[in-house]
Symmetry: C2
Subunit: 188 residues, 2 copies
Amino acid sequence: MARSQAEKAESRARILEIAGAELRARGLDGIGVADLMSAAGMTHGGFYKHFESRENLVEEVLAHVMAEADAQLYARERKGRAGLMEYIDWYLSQEHRDGPEAGCPIAALATDVARAGEGTRTAFTRGVGRFVDWLTDRFGSRRDRPRERAMTLLSAIVGGLVLARAVNDPKISEEILSSVRRQLRMIA
Amino acid sequence: MARSQAEKAESRARILEIAGAELRARGLDGIGVADLMSAAGMTHGGFYKHFESRENLVEEVLAHVMAEADAQLYARERKGRAGLMEYIDWYLSQEHRDGPEAGCPIAALATDVARAGEGTRTAFTRGVGRFVDWLTDRFGSRRDRPRERAMTLLSAIVGGLVLARAVNDPKISEEILSSVRRQLRMIA
DNA sequence: TGTACATCAGTGAACGCGCGTTCACTGATGTAC
DNA sequence: TGTACATCAGTGAACGCGCGTTCACTGATGTAC
C-alpha cells in the first residue's frame, strides 16, 4: 500500500471533516468531489477508495455531522433552565449565524434534506429526535407538556437562525435573533 | 414575429408560474432551463428571449413568488386574532407541508436563499419584512411588543414547517406541526 | 384595404464546460516464508 | 531478521453526460406606404 492503514483512516477522517464544513456552508449540492479531495490534500481519483459514490459521501457526512452536534449537545455542562438559556443565546448569536460551517446542521441543511434521499433523511430525523429529547429534559417537570414545548422551541430557534441567515439586511437579521431570544424566555 | 406580443407575455407568465412551483419544490438549483421550457411547452432556445440568464430567472421568479404570497396574505378576509389563528393552522397543516410548490416560499427556500446572490436575497428580505408587518398588525395593540412577537411567531412556523418536511418519520412530522400549532396559541 | 418589408418569438443543432466516475499505473506497506 | 510477493491508497489522464448558452434559421406578426 502506498499509505498505511492508519494513514487511510486519517485521510478518511480529513475528508469527512472538510465535507462536514463545506456541506453546512454550501448545502448538500455544494461540494464537488474534486474540490473536496484537493482541500483534503489529495487528487480526486482516490475518493472512491473511501466512498462508493458522492451520494454515499453525503449520507455519511450528514450522519457524522449530526452525531457530532449531538455529542456536543449532551456534553454541555450547565443543566436545567440556566443551561437551556445559555444554549439558546449561543444558538441565536451572530457568531452562530455567521459560521454555519461549524454550526447546527439542522438549521444549515433542513430544506436540502427535505429533498434528499432516504438515508440522509433518516440520519437527519434521528438527530432531530435526539435534539428534541435533550430539550425535553431541560424542561423536565418544571413545565407542563415538555415535549410539545421542546418541539416548539426547536422550531423557533431553527426558523430564527435560518431567517437571520437568509435575510439581506443586517438590522432585520439582528432583530430576528434578539426577538426570538427574548420571547423564548417566556416559553422556556 | 412567430408569435404575437400577447402570446409572448403569456409564454413568459407560463414560464414564471411553472418555475415558481418547481423552485419551491426542488430548490433554487432544482430547475434546468431545458426542463422548464419543455414543461412550458417550448424548446430551450427560446428561453433567452425572456430572460438574460438562468440566474436572472431565479431572481425574477423569487420576486414573483414572494409578491404573490404577499398578496394572498393581505387579501385574507378574517382579521384580528381569529384571522391569525386560521392562518397558523393552515401554515402548519399537512396540506401545506406536502405541497411546497404552492406554499410559502420563505419556508421552501430559506436555506437556499442564504447562499444565493444579492438580488435574490433582497427580494426575499422584502418579503420577510412584509410578512412581519402583516403579523405585527394581527397583534395590534392586543399584545405588548407586537413586532417582537411577530418575528418569533414567524420563526416558529417557518422552523416547524421546515422540520416537518425534512423529517422522515410521519409521526414525528405530525407531532412537530401539532406541537407548534398548539403552543403558539399562548404567544398569539 | 392591400402590399412589401422588417421584426422578432420560438426552433433545434451545436458549443464549452464542469462534474462524477473509471481505470491503468505506482510504490510503500503488510504478510508469509 | 531477512527476502519475496501480494495488496491496495493515492495518482492523474480520460470518459460520458447534462447543463447553460449561442446561433443560424423559420415564418407569423406588426408596420409603413
